[in-house]
């Protein structure tokens, strides 16, 4: 490999067919005279612009049906021609500089073009250099050179993470892996499970209970997850009414009075709420508005007046506080009901965190745009983060996550995208340059993920996510399979 040119933080390296390099690989450009080295990453591989190549290709393009022949080439020049034709240009990004063995994120020097030695930098050596802490390791899988890649659970602590990629590339698989590893390190995890994919995390692929079984708590709204009105705070129910059920301001004010009235009488039940609305002295339109929301709450099946049916979320959170996952199974739940449940869970969560009853929680939100109200996005990355809610967004529609979320994301676990628009959206992540994201993500095979951010000390690394011995749910129900 030879150093060809440098422009900005992009370095072009000439590589030959015998040198086996791929996108995502790291290269070390050593300048022995300066005792320095540049750490670069290949983000694209192109054919070198060899002069005369077009003429050669045109000359050789005639097929056998029209023209054939032979070469008397005793000196075997043609093998050299082929070698040069296959010369490649490696487009690399400078990731760091090594000055006398010390890693430096900036590179204000230029290596010697003719004297520099360019070598592949194995991931194991890179990881040693960047010194990833391994006190709480999470093994994500293997890198291209078959070395295991561990990140540290602390790299997710207090952080905002995004797992994104197109369908069936392995996003949910990775988020399950992260969630289970966090659980095994004693962290409380809450999963807003849109498709019921996490409900069987406590079972192995063979259907038997696994090591996590007693630490996975699945709450299915209107089945084993119902709550009593008395468990709710006014703020939470108002959030549900205003944000999930679009209750107008005037009606909300009236509802506040009704709630306070019932609360003073310790009569916060669905039945009493209905009766009070019916008998409350107020404008007929307000009453109608309140009644329609009341019936929405009633029909959701999420609320109960039976204390034995009501689930105490505080108790659930207590169960997972030293390591466990609370999976809120939102499968088969309507949009409105989903929003009601999520408003309740997040409201309760913030309450508990505010009261210091819970230290912190890792929240996994799959396709959050389908249940998270607009105002929550900023709330999650700013206010709730300070309370101790560390969110991981999982989505296959990157444009549903706001740009400011990408900018503030600490870690991005990026799977394959081919759509330009999606790549453009994801490339706004501040942790890496847009070219890297676009070029590498486009060619990632299934189950391969590009790690960006704090977890890998801002050195993007491609990893093949390891298999997980849990029962996979959430697979698409197929017509023909069932028929057979």
């Amino acid at each position: 490999m030879r150093l060809y040119r440098k422009e900005g933080n992009t370095i072009q390296i000439l590589s030959f067919p015998t040198e086996n390099v791929e996108k995502g690989d790291y290269l070390k450009i050593e300048d022995p005279k300066q005792n320095k080295a540049l750490i670069t990453q290949i983000i694209d591989i192109q054919f070198a612009n060899v002069p005369g190549i077009l003429e050669e290709l045109l000359r050789d393009s005639t097929n056998d049906t029209h023209l054939n022949g032979q070469d008397f080439d005793p000196l075997e020049v043609s093998s050299h021609v082929t070698y040069i034709q296959d010369a490649r240009l490696l487009i690399c990004k400078i990731r760091a500089s090594l000055d006398n063995g010390k890693l430096n994120p900036t590179s204000a020097w230029l290596p010697n073009r003719s004297q520099s030695i360019i070598k592949q930098l194995p991931t194991t050596s890179l990881l040693k250099l960047i010194k990833i802490n391994h006190s709480l390791p999470i093994q994500l899988g293997e890198t291209k050179d078959q070395s295991p890649l561990n990140i540290d659970a602390t790299a997710l602590d207090g952080k905002l993470n995004i797992v994104t990629g197109k369908k069936e590339t392995g996003k949910s698989h990775l988020s399950k892996l992260l969630a289970l590893n966090l659980v095994s390190h004693g962290a409380p995890v809450i999963v807003l499970d849109l498709n019921g994919e996490y409900a069987h995390l406590g079972y192995g692929a063979d259907g038997k209970k696994n090591e996590y079984n007693n630490r996975i708590n699945v709450l299915t709204p209107s089945e084993n997850f119902r709550v009593a009105l008395s468990q709710m705070k006014l703020r939470v129910i108002l959030n549900i009414l205003i944000h999930a059920l679009n209750l107008p301001g005037t009606s909300a004010r009236e509802f506040r009075r009704i709630w306070q009235f019932l609360d003073e009488r310790a009569a916060l039940t669905l039945h009493e709420l209905g009766e009070t609305i019916r008998n409350w002295r107020c404008n007929q339109h307000v009453r109608d508005a309140l009644f329609s929301r009341y019936y929405a709450l009633l029909n959701s099946g999420f609320f109960t007046d039976n204390p034995s049916e009501a689930v105490s979320l505080e108790d659930c959170f207590q169960r997972i506080r030293s390591g466990g996952a609370l999976v809120v199974n939102l499968r088969d739940t309507s949009l409105v009901d989903r929003q009601i449940v999520v408003e309740y869970v997040l409201g309760k969560l913030v309450d508990l965190l505010t009261q210091q009853k819970l230290r912190a929680v890792f929240l996994f939100a799959e396709e959050a745009h389908l249940y998270l109200r607009e105002t929550y996005w900023d709330d999650i990355v700013t206010r709730m983060r300070h309370f101790g809610v560390f969110t991981t967004f999982v989505t296959n529609q990157p444009d549903t996550i706001r740009e400011n979320i990408y900018r503030q994301a600490d870690n991005v676990f990026l799977f394959n995208f081919t759509n330009e628009h999606d790549l453009e959206t994801v490339s706004r992540a501040a942790k890496v340059d847009a070219e890297t994201v676009k070029s590498i993500a486009r060619d990632l095979p299934a189950h391969h993920c590009l790690l960006l951010g704090t977890a890998v000390k801002d050195f993007p690394i491609v990893v093949r996510v390891k298999a997980l011995n849990v029962q996979t749910m959430g697979q698409t129900r197929l017509f023909f399979t069932e028929k057979n």
Binding site: V50, P51, G52, I53, E55, E56, R59, T65, H66, L67, N68, G69, Q70, D71, F72, D73, P74, L75, E76, V77, S78, H80, V81, Y83, I84, Q85
Partner: protein, 348 residues
């Protein structure tokens, strides 16, 4: 291919390796036009009194006849402190009449390091094989700068002779003209070549890509524009060479064989009866594809012999790998002296 060519090629390169092992990149890596063996010696037609020329209309003659074309290219790969490094390659293309398919044989490339010390040996070897004579050369060895042209022509003659002796009842297409009397094309050799071809019922047709043929100041290729192709333009007069040593061994025509903008000087062996010459061209029309009046076999021979820039790099790489010869760029004198005003072939 005589083994001695290959041996000499390798020996001449080893010669560089044993010296300073540095090859200076020439300013131009394109084929040197002056090195084209087909450089035209333009006749003047005496006795031609009128601007009106004889037009011979042509009609394809569907009589199965093999067509063979020969072309040779050379390129300067670099310079050394003692000489020059050339590469030479020949191509023979023929059309298989049964399968309507073209075939080619590429010979080379052969790099040669030519120095004052070895130029005579190389030249004599080429003459020995190409001109088919073991008698020592009476003419002196050319200077280094002319060696490229000379050995290119000699290799071409060697290929032409081989084709002439091995083919029968074939149309043999040459790149260039049937002009003899130069150092590389001695009269007796070209005569012998044409005779050999004739004896085996072959017909040599020589196409000159760029001709300076003029009549009363008018370019002959312009005069044929008005004629309906396929046709030939025939001159009335006798071609007179610029020197007594030069002989035109062909009848000179201007050929416009297809619709399009191009027409070419076409020389046909003078010793063939006129009717037979015209018939040969008509057989070419029926047996080869023609685009812009140029035969496909000859076009392919040119394409397959021509060097690309990549091939030059490949030869330089071969020399570096096998003999440790490094190519370096000479300082650009024009640039050094005149800065941005230093235009020239090297300024790119």
């Amino acid at each position: 291919m005589p083994t001695r060519f290959i041996e000499l090629s390798l020996r001449s390169i080893k010669n560089i390796a044993s010296q300073d092992a540095t090859l200076y990149q020439p300013y131009e890596t394109i084929t040197d036009i002056s090195a084209e063996p087909s450089e035209e010696i333009t006749p003047v037609f005496h006795g031609q009194t009128k601007l009106k020329l004889n037009t011979i209309p042509l009609k394809p003659l569907p009589e199965e006849t093999p067509v063979v074309a020969i072309d040779v290219s050379s390129i300067k790969i670099g310079e050394t402190t003692t000489g020059i490094l050339l590469a030479i390659r020949g191509a023979i293309v023929w059309k298989n009449q049964n399968h309507h398919k073209y075939h080619y044989l590429r010979i080379g490339p052969f790099p040669f390091h030519i120095t004052e010390e070895n130029k005579q040996e190389i030249y004599q070897l080429f003459r020995q094989y190409s001109l088919d004579t073991l008698t020592p050369n009476t003419t002196s060895t050319p200077s280094l700068i002319h060696m490229q042209t000379r050995i290119t022509t000699l290799l071409e003659r060697w290929l032409q002779m081989n084709i002439a002796t091995q083919s029968q009842n074939t149309l043999i297409l040459w790149d260039g003209s049937l002009t003899a009397g130069t150092n590389d094309s001695p009269l007796h050799i070209i005569l012998q070549l044409l005779e050999t071809a004739r004896n085996r019922l072959n017909t040599v047709l020589a196409f000159t890509k760029i001709t300076r043929l003029r009549l009363s100041g008018h370019r002959l290729t312009d005069l044929i524009e008005k004629c309906t192709p396929p046709c030939l333009l025939e001159m009335d007069g006798y071609p007179i060479a610029p020197s007594n040593a030069i002989h035109f061994l062909g009848n000179i025509y201007v050929a416009k064989l297809t619709q399009g903008n191009c027409s070419f000087r076409l020389d046909v062996d003078r010793k063939l009866p006129r009717e037979q010459a015209v018939e040969a061209i008509q057989r070419l029309l029926a047996n080869d594809q023609l685009a812009e009046s140029y035969p496909e076999t000859l076009r392919l021979a040119h394409i397959y012999s021509t060097f690309t820039a990549n091939e030059v790099i490949a030869i330089q790489r071969l020399l570096a790998q096998t003999h440790g010869i490094k190519t370096v760029n000479r300082p650009n004198i024009r640039r050094l002296l005149f800065g941005p005003f230093g235009k020239g072939p090297e300024s790119g």
